[in-house]
């Protein structure tokens, strides 16, 4: 999928995709395939009937007993009916085309490699990658392809995953923790790792991905099934209306030809949406794939549109990575630079991102370079989650930095107290949502470091959009409630879960679901897996563990948690496109009635010409124009079906008003114009 960015633009204009789609549209004429789409199947049957009638007319004419009128009309109707079916097939084939091209690229990555399997006795055996079984242990060295999906059980390596993600920068994979999962088909760039294989042949991630992008395992989604039922129902009603019209016409002394009756039926049944429905679904999945998200089922994409509550991890989603030191506030009587220097010394042994940010801040703001300490035989006390302090013993001086209560205890043990001024500073930093760290030198507190979460730009607006769409955002964080509340306010989320543990996250999801809400979340760790499985939309990060990837119903290859918002928008766009084209299709029928009904009875009752509001030239041109419009509108709407209708974040009422205006009212008006234009064209071309 390295050619991803190119694939995005290549759609209707890519000749190879179009070429394949044209061939496919004929292949899809097979009744076995057509029967899956009741509306278009009816059109195909109609085309067969008119073609047979045409042949019959030919036969009669050849024996000189045929009708006096020309057969041009019947021929054109039959042709356009076949075109209608072909156009619908073409739409579906186009939607599939892009996925098929991507699948071809992926297949190349799946090519067989040689795996070095470590047997129980320690011997290394060369085996073809396709013969690997679950729980085989393989060793992969720099330059080799990883032979199958699995977890790193020993070692660290940089891995090129561009074959899967399209991202050329290598990623680190290491044993233990949440970065242990590797994917077959990716390449180790440096070092050597041992991998425990977690998939059987044919069930690898790459295999699944190929199937997904190709649409081979595509099943109709619940809403698509419901919509198909509606369309089939409408088709039956129109079938009834048309079939019973003939007796009424006979009663009235104006019997109709088969060509006209079939034309009326085909024009009335919802062919526009019937022809584009599956293309819309495929294109929706495809839009996700273009954003490097793999949806394991179409159901998940639909659910994404329905999401009521987004659970967003604070770190990396709402805020920029980790907390960073922003200010040094000295205690009364302490020089700020002295505080900065001490803080830097205390943090030298703190490898956490926060610790590093202190060193960086001191360096940037006060030009304090790392001091060469090795000569002074320092004793570093590294940061630990247990003591929540770090520091250094240097020349008999104890320099410490850490969480306020940890330092408080440390100082009390040494017979001192924290001044009320420092307490004040600590409190005000905590209230503002920051994290205070105290710096002490020889049991005297020198001041406070202000660690801050930096909220990503534009998040507030995004959450406002989401709110307008009726979606609540919940921030999940390990911070204490005070800090969490402050950041929540700053970021403009609707709620937060502070000091969140996996089980609390799970409880939150369940309580939201009990209220009837649909919940979406992202996760990467093994302990996220149960929540990912419980959530209606669970997006697993590709960097995450195998367990998380199994549990979620979507995988983000870019491992970007913010993408959840885009996923929701794509889900909504898919549903709106479906609804808009359904409305458009049904609304179109009004004009078609005004074209065909007066045409049908013009000969017997010229007075009914008052219904011919479009002033179409002749009865034949009227019927033909309606049929041609009906066929061409499918082609005209293919780009819209593939691209999706334009989506704006707005409340339901505003969206409905806008879409009803465009696709409802537009659906009523546009065929009047379209049919009239076609009528003018075909009469000037003397087709009818």
């Amino acid at each position: 999928m390295a050619a991803q960015s190119k694939a995005k633009t290549a759609s209707l204009s890519d000749p190879s995709i179009v070429g394949r789609a044209v061939l496919d549209s004929f292949r899809k004429l097979s009744p076995r395939l057509m029967a899956k789409n009741p509306v278009m199947f009816v059109v195909e049957i109609g085309a067969v009937i008119t073609t047979a009638e045409l042949a019959h007319d030919f036969w009669d004419r050849s024996r000189g007993i045929g009708p006096a009128t020309g057969i041009g009309f019947g021929l054109q109707i039959s042709l356009w009916l076949w075109f209608t079916v072909l156009f619908a097939n073409f739409a579906e084939a186009m939607a599939e085309g892009r996925g098929k091209a991507q699948a071809d690229t992926l297949r190349k990555a799946r090519s067989e490699t040689t795996a070095h399997v470590i047997r129980a006795n320690g011997a290394i055996e060369e085996v073809s990658s396709s013969k690997l079984r679950l729980n085989d242990i393989v060793v992969v060295s720099a330059g080799e392809f990883i032979p199958g999906d699995g977890d790193v059980i020993e070692g660290v390596a940089s891995v090129d995953e561009s074959a899967i993600t399209g991202e050329s920068a290598p990623v680190i994979r290491e044993s233990g923790g949440d970065r242990s999962a590797v994917t077959g088909g990716t390449r180790v760039l440096s070092d050597q790792i041992k991998i425990c294989i977690k998939s059987n042949p044919g069930e690898t991630f790459l295999d699944r991905m190929i199937k997904l992008v190709e649409g081979a395992s595509r099943q109709k989604t619940p809403n698509e099934i419901a919509l198909n039922i509606l369309l089939a129902g409408l088709t039956i009603i129109f079938l009834l209306a048309v079939v019973t019209l003939e007796p009424f016409a006979i009663y009235s002394g104006a019997p109709q030809t088969l060509f006209v009756l079939v034309s009326l039926l085909v024009c009335l049944i919802p062919t526009t949406i019937g022809g584009l429905l599956s293309a819309i679904g495929i294109a929706g999945m495809d839009r996700l794939i273009q954003r490097n998200v793999l949806a394991m089922s179409g159901r998940a994409v639909e659910a994404a549109g329905d999401v009521d509550t987004l659970l967003l991890d604070k770190t990396g989603t709402i805020t920029l990575g980790n907390r960073q030191a922003t200010v040094f506030t000295p205690a009364p009587g302490v020089d700020e630079k002295h505080l900065a220097l001490t803080a830097q010394l205390a943090s030298l042994a703190d490898e956490t991102p926060e610790g590093r940010s202190i060193v960086v801040l001191a360096k940037e703001r006060y030009g304090l370079r790392g001091i060469e300490l090795s000569a002074q035989s320092p004793l570093f006390i590294p940061f630990s989650a247990h003591t929540r302090m770090s520091g250094v013993d240097l020349d008999g001086e104890e320099i410490r930095k850490g969480a306020p209560d940890a330092i408080k205890r440390y100082i009390q043990e040494r017979g001192n107290k924290i001044s009320s001024e420092v307490e004040e500073i600590v409190k005000s930093i905590a209230n503002s949502g920051g994290t205070p760290l105290l710096v002490a030198r020889n049991r005297i507190v020198l001041g406070v470091i202000h660690l801050e979460d930096i909220v990503k730009g534009g998040m507030k607006e995004r959450f406002e959009h989401l709110r307008a769409m009726g979606i609540r955002t919940m921030m999940i964080t390990g911070d204490n409630p005070l800090t969490a509340a402050a950041i929540a306010k700053q970021a403009g989320v609707d709620g937060f879960l502070a000091e969140a543990k996996p089980e609390e996250k799970m409880a939150l999801i369940k309580s939201e679901q009990a209220k009837g809400k649909l919940v979406a979340m992202t996760g990467d760790g093994t302990n996220d897996a149960p929540a990912l499985a419980q959530a209606d939309v669970g997006v697993a990060m590709n960097t995450g563990t195998q367990a998380a990837k199994e549990a979620g119903n979507m995988i983000d290859l870019d491992s970007n948690p913010t993408k959840l918002i885009e996923i929701v928008e794509i889900g909504k766009q898919l549903l709106i496109t479906r609804g808009a084209l359904t409305t458009f299709s049904v609304a179109n029928d009004v004009a078609k009635y005004f074209a065909i009904i007066p045409a049908m009875f013009a000969a017997a009752f010229p007075q009914l010409g008052v219904l011919n509001v479009m002033r179409l030239h002749t009865p034949q041109s009227a019927v033909l124009s309606a049929v041609i419009f009906n066929a061409l509108i499918i082609v005209a709407l293919i780009p819209l079906a593939l691209r999706g209708v334009r989506y704006r974040a707005a409340g339901a009422e505003a969206l409905l008003r806008r879409n009803l205006l465009i696709y409802g009212l537009g659906g009523i008006v546009s065929p009047f114009v379209g049919i009239k234009i076609i009528d003018i064209l075909i009469t000037s071309l003397h087709w009818a």
């Binding site: 009424f248 209220k515 909504k572």
Partner: protein
């Protein structure tokens, strides 16, 4: 279109608006078993009914059980009516010594009254004894209305309840409809009708001597034409007032006399006429508020009410305009309104009521599935006559029959929500409940049943000279309207007739009965299934992203859905019936 006419229509609408909320609140209280002012009297009576019938009023039913109970109840009542009709000659209260009703007619009538249609293929005063009218027909007027209300309440429960397997108890709902809603109101209204001059007795028919005897020619069985002098007129009597109230309040429409509400004994004064149209809309209108209240969204109730009102106004103003305009063909009749006459097309209309009240009555009776008439729709202008026809074709959801109007409208609500709901970017939901494949399937099934019965049977009749077209009184487009109207009226459970068609034949009696049964029972089973299915679902809380069902936009959407579904199904045949007749009439041809 006189100012007086406009005024009367406006007053009517205001009265309906005024009674909607009180009635809706009252019915909500009745069916959610909250306190009502009638409890002290009726509660003991209700308990007695349950003790006698062995009904456990606390037991809830699934939709299948509810539907089965409803079908059983209707079947037994229908058989009972059939029996009474067939044996009335041996039963009491038959001063005119009327004989047994013919088999096919008895079947047709039994189906007709059980389904709340009240299609009458007979002349009541010469066919049905007082006992048949009271114990057979009037009983059904109550029973079928009570069943309708019960079904609507069950459907509302399905929408409003949360993860429930049941939708109420049919026997309790029916009993409460009888005791709290229908009986007290009818008792009161019957007395008001008596005060207006509606008769109420069990006497044999009176005979009056004509002041001016006249001569008439009759063709005897032997084919000879004889001239007879008519010097006497028989004046039919009977327990009319007690049936008149339920005829309208229960949207039944079956007249005690053949002339229905055009008969002075049924509808003597302008006030009684006004009261009748108000009664027809009363319960269906109140139920919209009940829907809003029980689902916790009164605004949704009003949105549905508004959609119904928009459709009602469109109908009544069209008829009013078409009839007031009169007949464009030079008929030698003065059609201008004056202080002495209503003007316009007065053929088939009562001079007591004039154009506006006839237009109002015709619209109301066909919007609701009542079918009572105070004028002959057959004699309306083609466009004026098309409105009642179209009203029924829309599925009788413009207020509609008691209960049936609301649950019929809810099918359109579900379709509207499903088609347009996607356009807000969520899978469709109605008041927080997801509309899924099963619900759509059932809604479409219900619409399909209606289309099948209203299109297939008249299509057969239209090309069958022996039993179909032989019954019509006018050829051409008008004849087609007559056939169509009969089946549409039967399937829609309306029961009004276009007249002009002789429907008391074996073919029409049987097929129309089938239409009526299909229109009522086949159409409601899928709706009950929807109710049962919805009841089981979770309710997602209202949010800005949820589909709005309380706004004018929704009202507009609902109106469009009803019109588009109706128009798409029936436009072809309408264009050969009333539309063709209208354009031919404009061109100078009449039938």
């Amino acid at each position: 279109m006189t100012a007086n006419g406009w005024f009367q229509i406006a007053v009517f609408l205001l009265v309906i608006l005024a009674i909607t909320k009180p009635l809706g609140v009252f019915m909500t209280n009745v069916f959610t078993r909250k306190k009502t002012f009638l409890d002290t009297v009726l509660r003991p009576l209700e308990r007695l009914v349950y003790r006698l019938t062995g009904v456990d009023e606390t037991r809830e039913m699934s939709w299948i059980e509810y539907g089965a109970a409803m079908l059983l109840f209707s079947l037994v009542s229908m058989l009972l009516l059939y029996l009474i009709e067939r044996t009335q000659q041996w039963l009491p209260f038959n001063p005119q010594k009327l004989g047994a009703v013919a088999q096919d007619l008895a079947f047709n009538t039994a189906a007709s009254f059980t389904t709340n249609t009240n299609w009458q293929a007979y002349t009541p005063e010469t066919t049905m004894s007082y006992l048949t009218q009271m114990a057979g027909l009037a009983y059904h007027n109550f029973a079928s209305a009570a069943v309708g209300i019960a079904l609507a309440i069950a459907v509302i429960r399905g929408i409003s309840s949360r993860e429930m397997k049941t939708i109420g108890n049919f026997w309790v709902d029916v009993t409460r409809s009888f005791l709290w809603v229908l009986l007290p109101a009818c008792l009161l209204v019957s007395l008001v009708f008596v005060s207006q001059g509606v008769v109420q007795n069990l006497r044999p028919y009176d005979t009056a001597q004509l002041i001016n005897p006249y001569q008439t020619q009759a063709t005897g069985a032997d084919g000879k034409t004889t001239t007879q002098t008519v010097a006497q007129q028989t004046i039919a009597q009977g327990p009319v007032a007690s049936q008149e109230a339920i005829k309208e309040l229960g949207t039944n429409g079956g007249g005690f006399f053949n002339a229905n509400s055009a008969h002075p004994f049924e509808n003597p004064t302008p006030f009684s006429n006004f009261l009748q149209v108000v009664l027809i809309f009363a319960i269906p209108s109140g139920l919209t508020y009940t829907l809003g209240r029980m689902t916790g969204s009164p605004k949704h109730g009003w949105a549905v009410w508004s959609a119904m009102t928009v459709l009602f106004l469109a109908g009544v103003l069209t008829v009013f305009w078409a009839e007031a305009r009169g007949n464009p063909l030079p008929a030698g009749v003065d059609q201008t309104p004056s202080s002495l006459q209503a003007g316009g097309n007065m053929e088939g209309k009562e001079v007591r009521f004039g154009i506006a009240n006839s237009a109002l009555f015709a619209t109301v009776t066909t919007d609701a599935s009542c079918g009572a008439v105070n004028g002959m729709h057959d004699s309306f202008t083609p466009l004026g006559g098309m409105v009642p026809l179209v009203n029924i074709m829309l599925g009788e959801v413009v207020f509609g029959g008691v209960g049936s109007g609301l649950y019929g409208m809810l099918v359109f609500v579900i379709l509207a929500v499903f088609i347009a709901g996607l356009m807000v970017g969520r899978t469709p939901e109605y008041l927080g409940k997801k509309i899924e494949a099963f619900d759509v399937k059932m809604a479409m099934l219900s619409v399909l049943v209606f289309s099948l019965a209203t299109l297939a049977l008249p299509a057969i009749a239209a090309v069958s000279p022996r039993f179909g077209t032989s019954s019509i009184s006018n050829p051409g487009a008008h004849g087609l309207s007559q056939i169509l109207y009969a089946y549409v009226s039967a399937t829609g459970n309306n029961g009004s007739a276009f007249n002009g068609i002789n429907s008391n034949t074996f073919w029409y009696n049987t097929t129309l009965a089938i239409s009526m049964l299909m229109g009522r029972f086949l159409a409601v089973i899928p709706i009950l299934a929807i109710a049962g299915n919805l009841a089981r679902k979770k309710i997602s809380p209202p949010s800005l992203g949820a589909f709005p069902v309380t706004t004018p936009l929704f009202t507009m959407l609902l109106v469009s859905t009803v019109v588009v579904v109706g128009a798409l199904t029936f436009f072809p045949v309408l264009s050969l019936g009333p539309i063709l007749e209208q354009v031919l009439m404009t061109a100078g041809r009449s039938f």
